[in-house]
């Protein structure tokens, strides 16, 4: 596998909107949730982009839209410049291999009735010709080795593994189709710290060796900071701030980002007991009826009348660090 050029965009989301229809009874529509309300984001080959935000803000929906589990209601998903929604089914199926998804729950994401070997061979059964049949066993061994499992694990069932091992299997399975982009939806959130560290290290190694790009979804700011090159902060279906890791963490410009960073617990918190922490009041509003204007204004301590009326756009000011706020903190 060739090492790709870093700057080349591999995935582009262009004003992506994804809604869920709530059904009520017999085929009646019960309204729509705009879970993703216009998201634009770029992932370049070989890089890791973090997507952080609170529960329900639409992170998983972004992931599911990218891999084609749900259809966007508007906007485009471009993979290597090609619009996924306009592709013919056949090509679509082929492209599928290039984007893989790893889920949060290592217990639920593996078919309990398949052995590890069967799980890993499944993609080759689906995409015939990807790996010739006679090389399957060999390939399985090398995949297991790749993710730090032993060859004899191939004949076991998922329930015979620990959570960390299962997540390794899930990763091996994603790698089986040699993807260019892996979307990790909270892939380490369910793991204990020590195991989490193993998986994070593994992901980094794989990126170094294979050049895959990651869209890394997490609510854990510490983890995102550790693994990502760039970070996007999401609030209620919208991205409020994107930028390189350093600029976002050092100079958060959006009040929500500031609050998030200040609320995130860290090992060093014991040092200054009476830190000036920003504790936001209230909860994330329901995406069924988002607030007018700026979506964050209901919890923002510096909201003004303008925020109520006008929705701030995600504007790039001087640096490569766009913020969607009328009154961003100077960076």
């Amino acid at each position: 596998m060739s090492t790709p050029v870093m700057d080349e965009p591999i995935l582009e989301l262009d004003d992506l909107v994804t809604s869920y229809r709530l059904t009520r009874g017999i085929g009646r529509s019960g309204g729509e949730v705009r879970a993703v309300a216009g998201v634009s984001l770029t992932v370049r080959a070989g890089e890791t982009v973090g997507l952080v935000g609170e529960s329900g803000c639409g992170k998983s929906t972004v992931a599911r839209t990218i891999v084609g589990l749900v259809r966007p209601s508007s906007g485009r998903v471009l993979f290597e410049g090609r619009d996924l929604s306009t592709l013919p089914a056949q090509e679509m199926r082929l492209l599928r291999q290039d984007i893989q998804l790893i889920f949060q729950d290592p217990y639920a994401s593996l078919n309990p009735r398949m052995t590890v070997a069967a799980l890993l061979k499944e993609p080759w059964r689906i995409h015939r010709g990807l790996v010739p049949r006679e090389r399957w066993d060999e390939e399985v061994r090398s995949l297991l080795d790749r993710v730090g499992l032993r060859a004899e694990h191939a004949d076991r069932y998922p329930h015979q593994f620990s959570g960390g091992q299962r997540q390794r299997i899930a990763i091996a399975r994603a790698l089986a189709v040699r993807p260019r982009l892996i979307v990790c939806d909270e892939s380490v959130s369910a793991l204990d710290v020590s195991v989490r560290a193993q998986i994070l290290n593994l992901l980094k190694d794989l990126q170094r060796d294979l050049g895959v790009a990651y869209l890394f979804i997490s609510h854990d700011l510490g983890v995102v900071r550790h693994i990502c090159d760039r970070v996007a902060v999401m609030y209620l279906g919208k991205i409020v701030e994107v930028g390189s890791k350093d600029s976002v963490y050092r100079h958060p410009s959006h009040p929500y980002t500031q609050a998030l960073l200040s609320a995130a617990p860290s090992l060093d918190d014991w040092r200054d007991d009476e830190r000036r922490e920003i504790v936001l009041g209230g909860d994330v509003p329901s995406p069924l009826s988002p607030p007018s204007g700026c979506r964050f204004r209901t919890r923002c301590w510096q909201a003004q009348d303008r925020c109520r009326e006008e929705e701030p756009a995600l504007i790039e000011r001087d640096t490569d660090h766009p913020v969607a706020c009328h009154f961003p903190a100077p960076s």
Binding site: S55, A197, Q198, G222, H226, L267
Partner: protein, 332 residues
């Protein structure tokens, strides 16, 4: 430190399983003083919850206290009858659980569930209990308490539900509050709200508090003292500053290094290799030795006792001093 609220000595709890006895808690000792917050950290399955439940007299099904003594406000509670426990729970010691949705009864109103404390323990009337419940809800920061009293839990957000749980726990002014992963199910911003609320209440009432978490960050923010659990034992205790600055057990050290920090600059994390031990058949010697970089022959043979490293500072490692200095030399 003023009076000791809770004293736990050599507590051991076993589960009867089809595969034999599972030693979930293996000789745990600690104390909590008035106005003090003790954090218990440790990975999943290390026995934190079982310990906490045992303190409440809620020994889980098919579990059995093998040994140990629990003293609450100077009173040995190990052999209390059901009725005596009932008088203690809620009145003297109270508990908050991880998932505030499942921990509340879905079919009773929030108001009822709070007021129940006054009605059952204090035998107060319906009106009076409601009035008190409204007061409590306001105290824990639930806006519009009067109106929300008659709502069912599912109408509340996660943070609000946890506030309700706190209100219930604090209803009868207990002296000791146990919080088992009180914020794990919550978002960071809400977690910050709840941690602040707990801290405020604890300071105001000079509560003794045990906060259980697997998140070292949460512990750092919320606690005065830490007890680190591994495989059913407390492997290290001390103040937050002591433990975080100079871990005295290789497991604590491993935990610290496995957590990404702003300072690591994206360098590979130092993961602890291997798996937690099988509690049905814990390894001989120190339970941590198969994963321990410091392990020697002694560790494989002798299960280390807790030994004092200072006032209320202890470690259950044969080579605690070495570990403590190792940290210093390793991470300057």
């Amino acid at each position: 430190m003023t009076g000791v609220l809770l004293q736990v000595d050599d507590l051991a709890v076993e589960f009867d399983t089809p595969k034999g006895p599972l030693r979930a808690v293996r000789g745990v000792s600690f104390q909590v003083g008035e106005g003090e917050t003790l954090a218990i950290v440790g990975e999943s399955g290390s026995g934190k919850s079982v310990t906490a439940h045992t303190l409440m007299g809620l020994v889980p099904l098919r579990a059995r206290i093998v040994s140990g003594r629990v003293t609450i406000e100077g009173r040995d509670v190990t052999g209390l009858s059901d009725k005596e426990w009932r008088e203690l729970r809620g009145e003297r010691i109270a508990m908050i659980f991880q998932d505030p949705l499942s921990a509340l009864n879905p079919s009773l109103t929030v108001g009822y569930q709070i007021a129940e404390m006054f009605r059952r323990h204090r035998r107060l009337g319906r009106k009076e209990s409601r009035r008190l419940a409204v007061g409590l809800m306001e105290q824990v920061g639930i806006p519009d308490a009067e109106r929300r009293l008659d709502d069912h839990p599912h109408r509340f957000s996660g943070g609000m539900r946890q506030r309700v749980m706190i209100a219930i726990a604090l209803a009868l002014d207990p002296r000791l509050l146990i919080a088992d992963e009180p914020t794990t199910a919550l978002d960071v911003t809400v977690q910050a709200q709840i941690l602040r609320l707990l801290r405020q209440r604890q300071r105001a009432d000079r509560l003794g508090m045990i906060i259980i978490s697997h998140d070292l960050g949460v512990v750092a923010r919320a606690a005065d003292r830490v007890a680190v659990m591994y495989a059913g034992r407390i492997v290290e205790t001390g103040t937050v500053a002591e433990v975080y600055e100079r871990p005295a057990h290789p497991y604590t050290l491993g935990l610290m290094r496995a957590v990404p920090t702003p300072r690591d600059g994206g360098a590979p994390l130092e993961a602890i290799d291997g798996q937690p031990p099988d509690l049905l058949a814990p390894p001989d010697g120190c339970a941590f030795h198969p994963r321990c970089p410091f392990a020697r022959d002694k560790c494989r043979e002798v299960d280390p006792e807790q030994h004092e490293l200072g006032p209320r500072r202890a470690s259950a490692c044969h080579f605690a001093e070495e570990v403590m200095t190792g940290v210093h030399t390793g991470h300057g």
